[in-house]
Point group: C3
Chain length 174, copies 3
Protein backbone atom coordinates (compact mmCIF):
# COMPACT_ATOMS: atom_id res chain seq x y z
CA UNK A 1 0.00 0.00 0.00
CA UNK A 2 1.24 3.47 -0.93
CA UNK A 3 0.00 6.13 1.45
CA UNK A 4 -0.52 9.62 0.05
CA UNK A 5 -0.86 12.65 2.30
CA UNK A 6 -0.81 16.40 1.71
CA UNK A 7 -0.49 19.50 3.83
CA UNK A 8 0.74 23.07 4.02
CA UNK A 9 2.96 24.56 6.71
CA UNK A 10 4.97 27.64 7.66
CA UNK A 11 8.39 28.23 9.21
CA UNK A 12 11.09 30.88 9.62
CA UNK A 13 12.96 29.46 6.60
CA UNK A 14 11.77 27.43 3.60
CA UNK A 15 13.54 24.35 4.95
CA UNK A 16 11.87 24.80 8.34
CA UNK A 17 8.50 25.07 6.58
CA UNK A 18 9.27 21.86 4.65
CA UNK A 19 10.22 20.09 7.89
CA UNK A 20 7.02 21.39 9.47
CA UNK A 21 4.99 19.95 6.60
CA UNK A 22 6.80 16.60 6.88
CA UNK A 23 6.04 16.48 10.61
CA UNK A 24 2.38 17.24 9.97
CA UNK A 25 2.04 14.17 7.80
CA UNK A 26 4.03 11.93 10.10
CA UNK A 27 7.37 11.70 8.32
CA UNK A 28 9.49 14.30 10.10
CA UNK A 29 11.66 11.60 11.62
CA UNK A 30 12.83 9.75 8.50
CA UNK A 31 15.46 10.16 5.81
CA UNK A 32 13.59 10.63 2.55
CA UNK A 33 14.96 8.88 -0.55
CA UNK A 34 13.22 10.22 -3.62
CA UNK A 35 11.87 7.96 -6.36
CA UNK A 36 10.99 9.00 -9.88
CA UNK A 37 7.45 7.74 -9.66
CA UNK A 38 6.34 4.38 -10.96
CA UNK A 39 3.75 2.45 -8.91
CA UNK A 40 4.76 -1.23 -8.43
CA UNK A 41 2.30 -4.08 -9.08
CA UNK A 42 -0.01 -5.04 -6.25
CA UNK A 43 -0.33 -1.49 -4.97
CA UNK A 44 -3.15 0.77 -3.96
CA UNK A 45 -2.83 4.50 -3.39
CA UNK A 46 -4.54 5.28 -0.10
CA UNK A 47 -5.24 8.95 0.57
CA UNK A 48 -4.67 9.57 4.24
CA UNK A 49 -4.49 12.46 6.69
CA UNK A 50 -0.93 11.31 7.38
CA UNK A 51 1.51 8.51 6.59
CA UNK A 52 1.31 5.42 8.80
CA UNK A 53 4.07 3.40 7.06
CA UNK A 54 5.88 1.60 9.85
CA UNK A 55 9.31 3.05 10.50
CA UNK A 56 11.79 3.97 13.19
CA UNK A 57 13.45 7.39 13.72
CA UNK A 58 16.17 7.82 11.09
CA UNK A 59 15.04 5.04 8.73
CA UNK A 60 15.14 5.67 5.01
CA UNK A 61 11.69 6.18 3.50
CA UNK A 62 11.36 5.62 -0.24
CA UNK A 63 8.80 8.08 -1.52
CA UNK A 64 7.58 10.36 -4.29
CA UNK A 65 6.81 13.98 -3.48
CA UNK A 66 5.90 17.36 -4.88
CA UNK A 67 6.89 20.36 -2.79
CA UNK A 68 6.51 24.05 -3.56
CA UNK A 69 7.51 26.98 -1.41
CA UNK A 70 6.65 30.68 -1.37
CA UNK A 71 8.61 33.17 0.67
CA UNK A 72 7.51 36.53 -0.74
CA UNK A 73 4.31 37.81 0.95
CA UNK A 74 1.40 37.61 -1.46
CA UNK A 75 2.87 34.80 -3.56
CA UNK A 76 1.39 31.33 -3.86
CA UNK A 77 2.88 27.85 -4.05
CA UNK A 78 1.06 24.78 -5.35
CA UNK A 79 2.24 21.18 -5.31
CA UNK A 80 0.47 18.20 -6.79
CA UNK A 81 0.69 14.51 -7.57
CA UNK A 82 -1.49 12.71 -10.11
CA UNK A 83 -1.74 8.99 -10.72
CA UNK A 84 -3.43 6.32 -12.78
CA UNK A 85 -3.52 2.53 -12.66
CA UNK A 86 -3.19 -0.02 -15.42
CA UNK A 87 -6.47 -1.81 -16.08
CA UNK A 88 -5.05 -5.29 -16.44
CA UNK A 89 -5.42 -6.52 -12.89
CA UNK A 90 -1.78 -5.81 -12.07
CA UNK A 91 -2.55 -2.95 -9.70
CA UNK A 92 0.51 -1.20 -11.12
CA UNK A 93 0.51 2.40 -12.23
CA UNK A 94 2.23 5.73 -12.71
CA UNK A 95 2.71 8.86 -10.64
CA UNK A 96 3.43 12.38 -11.87
CA UNK A 97 4.50 15.34 -9.73
CA UNK A 98 4.44 19.06 -10.40
CA UNK A 99 5.14 22.28 -8.57
CA UNK A 100 3.97 25.75 -9.61
CA UNK A 101 2.48 29.04 -8.64
CA UNK A 102 -1.22 28.12 -8.92
CA UNK A 103 -3.34 24.98 -8.57
CA UNK A 104 -4.70 25.50 -12.10
CA UNK A 105 -1.21 25.50 -13.61
CA UNK A 106 -0.22 22.42 -11.62
CA UNK A 107 -3.40 20.57 -12.58
CA UNK A 108 -2.89 21.36 -16.26
CA UNK A 109 0.69 20.09 -16.18
CA UNK A 110 -0.18 16.95 -14.24
CA UNK A 111 -2.98 16.03 -16.62
CA UNK A 112 -1.12 16.83 -19.84
CA UNK A 113 1.92 14.90 -18.65
CA UNK A 114 0.08 11.83 -17.42
CA UNK A 115 -2.16 11.65 -20.49
CA UNK A 116 0.94 11.70 -22.70
CA UNK A 117 2.62 9.05 -20.55
CA UNK A 118 -0.44 6.82 -20.79
CA UNK A 119 -0.91 7.34 -24.53
CA UNK A 120 2.69 6.28 -25.17
CA UNK A 121 2.53 2.98 -23.30
CA UNK A 122 -0.03 0.97 -25.31
CA UNK A 123 -1.65 -0.20 -22.09
CA UNK A 124 -5.17 0.64 -20.89
CA UNK A 125 -5.21 2.85 -17.82
CA UNK A 126 -8.08 3.82 -15.55
CA UNK A 127 -9.08 7.38 -14.67
CA UNK A 128 -6.53 9.98 -13.54
CA UNK A 129 -6.75 10.97 -9.89
CA UNK A 130 -4.83 13.82 -8.31
CA UNK A 131 -4.14 15.66 -5.09
CA UNK A 132 -3.08 19.31 -5.21
CA UNK A 133 -2.39 21.57 -2.26
CA UNK A 134 -1.80 25.32 -2.26
CA UNK A 135 -0.36 27.80 0.24
CA UNK A 136 -0.06 31.58 0.10
CA UNK A 137 2.71 33.39 1.92
CA UNK A 138 1.42 36.13 4.19
CA UNK A 139 4.47 36.64 6.38
CA UNK A 140 6.72 33.62 7.00
CA UNK A 141 7.78 31.18 4.24
CA UNK A 142 5.15 28.57 3.38
CA UNK A 143 5.41 25.04 2.00
CA UNK A 144 2.85 23.04 0.04
CA UNK A 145 3.56 19.30 0.13
CA UNK A 146 2.06 16.14 -1.35
CA UNK A 147 3.96 12.94 -0.51
CA UNK A 148 3.42 9.28 -1.41
CA UNK A 149 5.18 6.80 0.89
CA UNK A 150 6.29 3.44 -0.53
CA UNK A 151 8.34 1.61 2.08
CA UNK A 152 10.85 2.20 4.83
CA UNK A 153 14.29 0.62 5.08
CA UNK A 154 16.00 0.10 8.40
CA UNK A 155 19.74 0.69 8.67
CA UNK A 156 20.18 -2.66 10.34
CA UNK A 157 18.51 -4.82 7.70
CA UNK A 158 20.19 -3.14 4.76
CA UNK A 159 23.10 -5.40 4.78
CA UNK A 160 23.81 -8.85 3.70
CA UNK A 161 25.42 -12.06 4.74
CA UNK A 162 23.96 -12.11 8.27
CA UNK A 163 27.06 -12.42 10.38
CA UNK A 164 29.35 -10.21 8.37
CA UNK A 165 26.62 -7.67 7.84
CA UNK A 166 25.73 -7.30 11.47
CA UNK A 167 29.39 -6.91 12.26
CA UNK A 168 29.67 -4.21 9.60
CA UNK A 169 26.54 -2.45 10.80
CA UNK A 170 27.77 -2.44 14.34
CA UNK A 171 31.16 -1.17 13.35
CA UNK A 172 29.85 1.60 11.16
CA UNK A 173 26.72 2.76 12.92
CA UNK A 174 27.51 2.51 16.62
Amino acid sequence: MIELAATTATGPTPLAAFDHALRRIGVGDVNLVRLSSVIPPGSIVAQRDRVYTEHAWGDRLYCVWAMAEAKVPGTTASAGIAWAFRQDGSDAGLFVEDEGSSPEAVEWTLTATLEHMIAGRNIDFGPIESRIVTATCTDEPVCALVLASYQSASWRSDAAVPAAAMALTDRVMS
Copy 2:
Protein backbone atom coordinates in the same frame (compact mmCIF):
# COMPACT_ATOMS: atom_id res chain seq x y z
CA MET B 1 27.75 -4.63 -16.94
CA ILE B 2 26.62 -1.03 -17.04
CA GLU B 3 24.40 -0.31 -20.03
CA LEU B 4 24.52 3.17 -21.50
CA ALA B 5 21.83 4.45 -23.85
CA ALA B 6 20.94 7.87 -25.23
CA THR B 7 17.99 9.42 -26.99
CA THR B 8 15.95 12.56 -27.57
CA ALA B 9 12.19 12.90 -27.25
CA THR B 10 9.34 15.41 -27.19
CA GLY B 11 6.22 15.88 -25.10
CA PRO B 12 3.60 18.48 -24.14
CA THR B 13 5.58 19.26 -20.95
CA PRO B 14 9.27 18.87 -20.07
CA LEU B 15 8.40 16.01 -17.69
CA ALA B 16 6.39 14.27 -20.42
CA ALA B 17 9.36 14.65 -22.77
CA PHE B 18 11.66 13.14 -20.11
CA ASP B 19 9.25 10.24 -19.62
CA HIS B 20 9.11 9.78 -23.40
CA ALA B 21 12.91 9.61 -23.52
CA LEU B 22 12.98 7.10 -20.65
CA ARG B 23 10.46 4.91 -22.48
CA ARG B 24 12.51 5.06 -25.66
CA ILE B 25 15.50 3.54 -23.91
CA GLY B 26 13.48 0.95 -22.04
CA VAL B 27 13.31 2.42 -18.53
CA GLY B 28 9.93 4.13 -18.49
CA ASP B 29 8.60 1.62 -15.99
CA VAL B 30 11.16 1.94 -13.17
CA ASN B 31 11.84 4.25 -10.25
CA LEU B 32 15.17 5.90 -10.95
CA VAL B 33 17.56 6.33 -8.01
CA ARG B 34 20.39 8.64 -9.02
CA LEU B 35 24.02 7.88 -8.29
CA SER B 36 26.88 10.35 -8.30
CA SER B 37 28.92 8.39 -10.77
CA VAL B 38 31.67 6.02 -9.82
CA ILE B 39 32.03 2.79 -11.84
CA PRO B 40 32.47 -0.28 -9.54
CA PRO B 41 35.22 -2.86 -10.15
CA GLY B 42 34.46 -5.64 -12.61
CA SER B 43 32.35 -3.43 -14.86
CA ILE B 44 32.16 -2.71 -18.52
CA VAL B 45 30.21 0.17 -20.07
CA ALA B 46 28.19 -1.25 -22.94
CA GLN B 47 26.71 1.29 -25.34
CA ARG B 48 23.29 0.05 -26.36
CA ASP B 49 20.24 1.22 -28.26
CA ARG B 50 18.33 0.72 -25.02
CA VAL B 51 18.73 -0.65 -21.49
CA TYR B 52 18.20 -4.38 -21.06
CA THR B 53 18.93 -4.54 -17.31
CA GLU B 54 16.45 -7.04 -15.93
CA HIS B 55 13.72 -5.42 -13.90
CA ALA B 56 10.01 -5.49 -13.13
CA TRP B 57 7.56 -2.56 -13.36
CA GLY B 58 8.13 -0.24 -10.42
CA ASP B 59 11.55 -1.58 -9.37
CA ARG B 60 14.22 0.87 -8.32
CA LEU B 61 16.94 1.29 -10.92
CA TYR B 62 20.27 2.68 -9.73
CA CYS B 63 21.68 4.81 -12.51
CA VAL B 64 23.67 7.84 -13.58
CA TRP B 65 22.13 10.23 -16.07
CA ALA B 66 22.48 13.55 -17.83
CA MET B 67 19.27 15.19 -18.99
CA ALA B 68 18.74 18.56 -20.66
CA GLU B 69 15.50 20.10 -21.80
CA ALA B 70 14.57 22.95 -24.12
CA LYS B 71 11.10 24.41 -24.25
CA VAL B 72 11.57 27.67 -26.14
CA PRO B 73 11.37 27.14 -29.92
CA GLY B 74 14.80 27.55 -31.48
CA THR B 75 16.73 26.67 -28.33
CA THR B 76 18.93 23.60 -27.98
CA ALA B 77 19.58 21.13 -25.17
CA SER B 78 22.61 18.86 -24.93
CA ALA B 79 23.28 16.12 -22.39
CA GLY B 80 26.39 14.01 -22.11
CA ILE B 81 28.20 11.40 -20.06
CA ALA B 82 31.94 10.72 -20.27
CA TRP B 83 33.87 7.90 -18.66
CA ALA B 84 37.29 6.37 -18.23
CA PHE B 85 38.58 3.16 -16.70
CA ARG B 86 41.51 2.52 -14.40
CA GLN B 87 44.31 0.64 -16.16
CA ASP B 88 45.14 -1.72 -13.33
CA GLY B 89 42.94 -4.66 -14.30
CA SER B 90 40.22 -3.68 -11.82
CA ASP B 91 37.71 -2.71 -14.50
CA ALA B 92 36.70 0.17 -12.23
CA GLY B 93 36.28 3.73 -13.42
CA LEU B 94 34.64 7.11 -13.26
CA PHE B 95 31.64 8.75 -14.91
CA VAL B 96 31.01 12.47 -15.42
CA GLU B 97 27.73 14.05 -16.52
CA ASP B 98 26.97 17.47 -17.96
CA GLU B 99 24.02 19.36 -19.37
CA GLY B 100 24.20 22.49 -21.50
CA SER B 101 23.01 24.39 -24.50
CA SER B 102 25.39 22.96 -27.11
CA PRO B 103 27.28 19.71 -27.65
CA GLU B 104 30.56 21.63 -27.84
CA ALA B 105 30.03 23.19 -24.41
CA VAL B 106 29.06 19.82 -22.92
CA GLU B 107 32.05 18.08 -24.45
CA TRP B 108 34.43 20.74 -23.16
CA THR B 109 33.06 20.44 -19.63
CA LEU B 110 33.06 16.64 -19.65
CA THR B 111 36.66 16.48 -20.80
CA ALA B 112 37.99 19.22 -18.53
CA THR B 113 36.23 17.69 -15.53
CA LEU B 114 37.25 14.10 -16.15
CA GLU B 115 40.87 15.03 -16.93
CA HIS B 116 41.06 16.91 -13.63
CA MET B 117 39.46 13.98 -11.78
CA ILE B 118 41.97 11.57 -13.30
CA ALA B 119 44.97 13.81 -12.68
CA GLY B 120 44.06 14.08 -9.00
CA ARG B 121 43.86 10.36 -8.30
CA ASN B 122 47.44 9.15 -8.91
CA ILE B 123 46.09 6.16 -10.82
CA ASP B 124 46.58 5.44 -14.52
CA PHE B 125 43.39 5.68 -16.53
CA GLY B 126 42.67 4.66 -20.12
CA PRO B 127 41.21 6.94 -22.79
CA ILE B 128 38.13 9.08 -22.17
CA GLU B 129 35.00 7.99 -23.99
CA SER B 130 31.79 9.97 -24.17
CA ARG B 131 28.24 10.01 -25.43
CA ILE B 132 26.51 13.33 -26.09
CA VAL B 133 23.03 13.84 -27.46
CA THR B 134 21.40 17.08 -28.59
CA ALA B 135 17.83 18.16 -29.28
CA THR B 136 16.44 21.44 -30.62
CA CYS B 137 12.97 22.62 -29.68
CA THR B 138 10.84 23.44 -32.70
CA ASP B 139 7.41 23.41 -31.09
CA GLU B 140 6.88 21.12 -28.09
CA PRO B 141 9.40 20.75 -25.24
CA VAL B 142 12.31 18.42 -26.04
CA CYS B 143 14.52 16.29 -23.85
CA ALA B 144 18.07 15.05 -24.47
CA LEU B 145 18.98 12.07 -22.30
CA VAL B 146 22.01 9.86 -21.69
CA LEU B 147 21.56 7.21 -19.00
CA ALA B 148 23.84 4.54 -17.56
CA SER B 149 22.03 1.70 -15.78
CA TYR B 150 23.82 -0.12 -12.94
CA GLN B 151 21.38 -2.51 -11.30
CA SER B 152 17.73 -2.85 -10.36
CA ALA B 153 16.37 -3.53 -6.88
CA SER B 154 13.04 -5.25 -6.39
CA TRP B 155 10.77 -4.11 -3.58
CA ARG B 156 10.36 -7.68 -2.41
CA SER B 157 14.00 -8.69 -2.60
CA ASP B 158 15.40 -5.56 -0.98
CA ALA B 159 16.42 -8.06 1.48
CA ALA B 160 16.33 -11.43 -0.21
CA VAL B 161 16.75 -15.09 -0.79
CA PRO B 162 20.56 -15.37 -0.86
CA ALA B 163 20.99 -17.74 -3.76
CA ALA B 164 18.62 -15.99 -6.12
CA ALA B 165 19.95 -12.61 -5.13
CA MET B 166 23.55 -13.51 -5.70
CA ALA B 167 22.63 -14.96 -9.06
CA LEU B 168 20.91 -11.70 -9.96
CA THR B 169 23.88 -9.67 -8.79
CA ASP B 170 26.26 -11.75 -10.82
CA ARG B 171 24.09 -11.59 -13.87
CA VAL B 172 23.59 -7.88 -13.72
CA MET B 173 26.98 -6.65 -12.65
CA SER B 174 29.39 -8.86 -14.56
Copy 3:
Protein backbone atom coordinates in the same frame (compact mmCIF):
# COMPACT_ATOMS: atom_id res chain seq x y z
CA MET C 1 29.02 6.50 14.01
CA ILE C 2 28.37 9.29 11.54
CA GLU C 3 31.57 10.91 10.35
CA LEU C 4 31.43 14.57 9.42
CA ALA C 5 34.16 16.23 7.38
CA ALA C 6 34.48 19.56 5.61
CA THR C 7 36.77 21.10 3.05
CA THR C 8 37.13 23.53 0.18
CA ALA C 9 38.62 22.80 -3.23
CA THR C 10 39.11 24.20 -6.72
CA GLY C 11 38.82 22.80 -10.23
CA PRO C 12 38.45 23.85 -13.86
CA THR C 13 34.67 23.30 -13.63
CA PRO C 14 32.29 23.36 -10.65
CA LEU C 15 31.85 19.57 -10.91
CA ALA C 16 35.63 19.09 -10.94
CA ALA C 17 35.87 21.28 -7.83
CA PHE C 18 33.17 19.18 -6.15
CA ASP C 19 35.02 15.99 -7.05
CA HIS C 20 38.22 17.52 -5.71
CA ALA C 21 36.49 18.31 -2.43
CA LEU C 22 35.09 14.77 -2.23
CA ARG C 23 38.56 13.32 -2.78
CA ARG C 24 40.01 15.55 -0.08
CA ILE C 25 37.68 14.07 2.50
CA GLY C 26 38.13 10.50 1.32
CA VAL C 27 34.92 9.88 -0.63
CA GLY C 28 35.94 10.50 -4.23
CA ASP C 29 35.53 6.83 -5.06
CA VAL C 30 31.90 6.24 -3.99
CA ASN C 31 28.43 6.79 -5.40
CA LEU C 32 26.74 9.28 -3.10
CA VAL C 33 23.07 8.66 -2.24
CA ARG C 34 21.65 11.73 -0.54
CA LEU C 35 19.53 11.53 2.60
CA SER C 36 17.25 14.23 3.92
CA SER C 37 18.91 14.36 7.29
CA VAL C 38 17.62 12.52 10.31
CA ILE C 39 20.19 10.97 12.68
CA PRO C 40 19.26 7.37 13.63
CA PRO C 41 19.31 6.15 17.25
CA GLY C 42 22.61 4.97 18.63
CA SER C 43 24.65 7.47 16.64
CA ILE C 44 27.38 9.92 17.41
CA VAL C 45 28.55 12.65 15.01
CA ALA C 46 32.33 12.49 14.88
CA GLN C 47 34.05 15.49 13.33
CA ARG C 48 37.00 14.22 11.36
CA ASP C 49 39.60 15.48 8.92
CA ARG C 50 38.15 12.95 6.47
CA VAL C 51 35.66 10.10 6.23
CA TYR C 52 36.91 6.66 7.26
CA THR C 53 33.63 4.77 6.70
CA GLU C 54 34.64 1.41 5.28
CA HIS C 55 33.81 1.10 1.59
CA ALA C 56 35.07 -0.20 -1.73
CA TRP C 57 35.45 1.79 -4.98
CA GLY C 58 32.00 2.32 -6.50
CA ASP C 59 29.95 1.45 -3.40
CA ARG C 60 26.92 3.55 -2.57
CA LEU C 61 27.48 5.85 0.40
CA TYR C 62 24.40 7.14 2.19
CA CYS C 63 25.15 10.64 3.36
CA VAL C 64 23.92 14.15 4.07
CA TRP C 65 25.78 17.07 2.54
CA ALA C 66 25.82 20.79 1.97
CA MET C 67 27.76 22.02 -1.05
CA ALA C 68 28.13 25.54 -2.38
CA GLU C 69 30.09 26.67 -5.40
CA ALA C 70 31.38 30.02 -6.64
CA LYS C 71 32.66 30.49 -10.16
CA VAL C 72 32.77 34.27 -10.55
CA PRO C 73 36.05 35.75 -9.23
CA GLY C 74 35.43 37.67 -6.03
CA THR C 75 32.30 35.75 -5.06
CA THR C 76 32.02 33.53 -2.00
CA ALA C 77 30.35 30.20 -1.33
CA SER C 78 29.47 28.88 2.14
CA ALA C 79 28.11 25.46 3.05
CA GLY C 80 27.10 24.28 6.48
CA ILE C 81 25.51 21.47 8.45
CA ALA C 82 24.07 21.86 11.95
CA TRP C 83 22.85 19.13 14.26
CA ALA C 84 21.36 18.42 17.65
CA PHE C 85 20.65 15.26 19.64
CA ARG C 86 17.60 14.21 21.59
CA GLN C 87 18.28 14.19 25.33
CA ASP C 88 16.49 10.97 26.12
CA GLY C 89 19.38 8.54 25.88
CA SER C 90 18.42 7.46 22.35
CA ASP C 91 21.45 9.10 20.70
CA ALA C 92 19.12 10.06 17.85
CA GLY C 93 18.99 13.53 16.37
CA LEU C 94 18.48 15.88 13.45
CA PHE C 95 20.68 17.39 10.77
CA VAL C 96 20.08 20.58 8.80
CA GLU C 97 22.00 21.72 5.74
CA ASP C 98 22.29 25.12 4.09
CA GLU C 99 24.20 26.74 1.27
CA GLY C 100 24.67 30.46 0.75
CA SER C 101 26.98 33.33 -0.09
CA SER C 102 28.36 34.03 3.40
CA PRO C 103 29.00 32.04 6.58
CA GLU C 104 26.83 34.47 8.56
CA ALA C 105 23.83 33.87 6.30
CA VAL C 106 24.33 30.10 6.45
CA GLU C 107 24.69 30.12 10.23
CA TRP C 108 21.53 32.19 10.64
CA THR C 109 19.53 29.82 8.44
CA LEU C 110 20.89 26.68 10.10
CA THR C 111 20.08 27.95 13.58
CA ALA C 112 16.64 29.35 12.76
CA THR C 113 15.70 26.14 10.96
CA LEU C 114 16.96 23.73 13.58
CA GLU C 115 15.46 25.71 16.47
CA HIS C 116 12.08 25.59 14.72
CA MET C 117 12.47 21.88 14.03
CA ILE C 118 13.28 21.21 17.69
CA ALA C 119 10.49 23.41 19.03
CA GLY C 120 7.92 21.54 16.93
CA ARG C 121 8.82 18.06 18.14
CA ASN C 122 7.95 18.16 21.86
CA ILE C 123 11.21 16.40 22.68
CA ASP C 124 14.14 17.84 24.62
CA PHE C 125 17.22 18.35 22.51
CA GLY C 126 20.78 19.21 23.54
CA PRO C 127 22.81 22.14 22.20
CA ILE C 128 23.08 22.88 18.48
CA GLU C 129 26.47 22.21 16.94
CA SER C 130 27.48 23.21 13.43
CA ARG C 131 30.23 23.10 10.87
CA ILE C 132 30.43 25.78 8.18
CA VAL C 133 33.06 26.12 5.50
CA THR C 134 33.60 29.03 3.11
CA ALA C 135 35.53 29.48 -0.14
CA THR C 136 36.12 32.55 -2.28
CA CYS C 137 36.68 32.25 -6.01
CA THR C 138 39.82 34.00 -7.16
CA ASP C 139 40.27 32.39 -10.55
CA GLU C 140 39.00 28.82 -10.97
CA PRO C 141 35.62 27.61 -9.65
CA VAL C 142 35.63 26.76 -5.93
CA CYS C 143 33.56 24.35 -3.87
CA ALA C 144 32.73 24.46 -0.16
CA LEU C 145 31.62 21.08 1.18
CA VAL C 146 30.42 19.63 4.47
CA LEU C 147 29.47 15.96 4.35
CA ALA C 148 28.16 13.51 6.95
CA SER C 149 28.67 9.84 6.08
CA TYR C 150 26.18 7.26 7.43
CA GLN C 151 26.94 3.90 5.89
CA SER C 152 28.11 2.31 2.66
CA ALA C 153 26.26 -0.36 0.66
CA SER C 154 28.09 -2.82 -1.54
CA TRP C 155 26.59 -3.79 -4.89
CA ARG C 156 27.00 -7.46 -4.06
CA SER C 157 25.32 -7.34 -0.67
CA ASP C 158 22.28 -5.44 -1.85
CA ALA C 159 20.41 -8.56 -1.03
CA ALA C 160 20.23 -9.67 2.54
CA VAL C 161 19.40 -11.14 5.91
CA PRO C 162 16.99 -13.84 4.70
CA ALA C 163 14.38 -14.45 7.37
CA ALA C 164 14.21 -11.18 9.24
CA ALA C 165 14.42 -9.12 6.09
CA MET C 166 11.61 -10.94 4.32
CA ALA C 167 9.42 -10.47 7.37
CA LEU C 168 10.16 -6.75 7.39
CA THR C 169 9.51 -6.41 3.68
CA ASP C 170 6.21 -8.22 3.89
CA ARG C 171 5.00 -6.16 6.79
CA VAL C 172 5.66 -2.88 5.05
CA MET C 173 4.51 -3.54 1.50
CA SER C 174 1.30 -5.52 1.90
